[in-house]
């Protein structure tokens, strides 16, 4: 039994070596698929990081009554922490408000009027889990009920647009991911199917000599798994190489670096193995019927 298994494994290796050229095709197909997949994984991982840069868009501006002094307003400000769904807050004193006014309108309100009419305020950032248009609305309403707050402003429009793009990205990514996965399995099984097709006489002969289904199938499955593993190793190399090239380009042009997502090798290795196995067993299934 062990002798037979050893024979079948060595058959798988031999077959891989003997049909180097077609096998290379199969391996590079897996590499290509996994490189695309790993690239998507990379981009998603970095996209997530890039969107965090835009988090300032999830900002609510709070205005206190102008009659409140900075100190009084700061006491009200501390009540904000009780509101659910807030990640951070920043107090804006009357003086900061004046300098913001200057920045926005190009005029020093204190010089013009001799006094500072602007109210104190606060900038509130919405926590990650609450960044939907509906939740932000609720949070703004909650803040508005705090005593001493006259007005609450937030860029609802921008938030809604952002949400739109994120939704598109998530749904698009989901669809593309499923298409790519099906495509990969299809490609691998097709390549292995063609390899088997080229060996159909051999397979017939094996059956005529009394070989069982599994005796005939096993070397092909082993061959497929080996191809998957080799293909995924090449894909890991390709992605790390691509990462270096892209980072070189990116640093040169935009001073921005992509990071390497965690578990890349594990992710691709597992996918390669599964691809090889599913692909070859699908490919084998069609042709080997005693």
């Amino acid at each position: 039994m062990i002798g037979k298994l050893a024979f079948l494994i060595s058959e798988g290796l031999r077959s891989l070596w003997r049909a180097r050229l077609p096998a290379l095709g199969s391996i590079l197909t897996i590499t290509l698929t996994l490189t695309l997949f790993g690239g998507a994984y990379l981009i998603f991982g970095n996209f997530d990081r890039a969107t965090r840069r835009l988090q300032s868009q999830y900002r609510i501006d709070v205005f206190f009554k102008p009659i409140l002094t900075n100190g009084e307003a700061f006491q009200k400000y501390q009540l904000l922490t009780a509101v659910e769904g807030i990640s951070s807050t920043e107090f804006i004193s009357k003086e900061r408000a004046a300098s913001i006014f200057k920045r926005e309108f190009g005029e020093d309100v204190v010089t013009v009027l001799g006094t500072n009419p602007l109210p104190a305020g606060a900038i509130v950032l919405v926590a990650r889990g609450h960044r939907t248009a509906r939740r932000i609305n609720r949070i703004a309403d909650d803040i508005a009920t705090i005593d001493g707050v006259t007005d609450v402003a937030y860029r609802g429009e921008l938030v809604r647009i952002l949400e739109r793009y994120i939704r598109i990205a998530v749904y698009g990514g989901l669809i593309l991911g499923i298409v790519a996965l099906l495509g990969a399995i299809f490609l691998v099984s097709n390549t292995i199917k063609l390899s088997i097709y080229a060996k159909r006489d051999t397979i017939d002969t094996l059956h005529l000599l009394g070989a069982t289904r599994s005796f005939v199938r096993l070397p092909f499955l082993i061959e497929g798994v080996l191809q998957g593993i080799i293909g995924s190793l090449l894909a890991v190399g390709a992605i790390l190489g691509m990462l270096d090239v892209m980072n070189y380009i990116l640093e040169h042009f935009v001073l921005y670096r992509l990071i390497r997502p965690a578990f890349l090798a594990l992710f691709l290795g597992t996918m390669g193995l599964l691809l090889g196995l599913i692909g070859s067993s699908r490919g084998v299934g069609r042709f080997i019927n005693s």
Binding site: G3, K4, T202, L208, L209, G210, F215
Partner: protein, 217 residues
């Protein structure tokens, strides 16, 4: 033991064999003779379950081919040694590996496989061609590799389809001697299908004649 009982197989696009009846006992040497297209290969295919009868039954070494599950076909075939008319050597394996294949299918020990394979190579006079691929062998040499592959596992039954078609007189005689030896001394059942009546006269064996799909007697 091989028994065909009222066996009929008609090809969808072509003739076939009709109402065949015979019994062949253990250790018998049988010549299955008939002209080209008579149905010799068809009868052998029925025996190794490559074809199933449309009517009647085929019983080989205790298996009734039309009644068994397809999972059992490998078990039947492991009791047989087959020589194919078109050799059916695996092109990507050398002579040694082609001949060793049935032993791997039986799951024998490595050492055992080596011994038996070299013995079979010796039987057909191809020891010095062991590591040549089929395309590096002459027609007659390929045929002898096919014969070695059939006898290497010392099977209960040998079904040889035109085993001397590509062999010269000397090699033909040696092959016939080998198969006769296996029948007489080893108790193997040996069926040789051939169109060549001259080889029949060279060995004492039973004659089964077929023409246009029907047995003559």
């Amino acid at each position: 033991m091989i028994e065909l009982r009222k066996t009929t197989l008609k090809y969808q696009r072509g003739p076939g064999v009709y109402d065949i009846n015979f019994t062949i006992g253990a250790g018998e040497l049988v010549f299955l003779v008939g002209p080209s297209g008579a149905g010799k290969t068809t009868l052998l295919k029925l025996m190794y379950a490559d074809l199933l009868p449309q009517e009647g039954e085929v019983e080989v070494n205790g298996f009734i081919t039309s009644h068994m599950r397809s999972k059992s076909i490998p078990h039947l075939r492991r009791t047989l040694g087959l020589v194919f008319q078109d050799f059916r050597l695996l092109p990507d394996r050398n002579a040694y590996d082609n001949i060793a294949l049935p032993l791997h299918i039986l799951g024998l020990q490595r050492k055992d496989i080596r011994e038996r394979t070299y013995a079979a190579l010796d039987d057909v006079g191809l020891i010095d061609r062991a590591h040549h691929y089929p395309r590096e062998l002459s027609g007659g040499e390929q045929q002898r590799v096919g014969i070695a592959r059939a006898i290497v596992k010392n099977p209960i039954t040998i079904l040889a389809d035109e085993p001397t078609g590509n062999l010269d007189a000397g090699n033909s005689m040696e092959t016939l001697d080998l198969l006769t030896y296996l029948a007489n001394e080893n108790g193997s059942t040996v069926i040789i299908a051939t169109h060549d009546y001259s080889i029949v006269s060279k060995k004492r064996g039973r004659l089964i004649e077929i023409n246009e799909g029907r047995l003559l007697d």
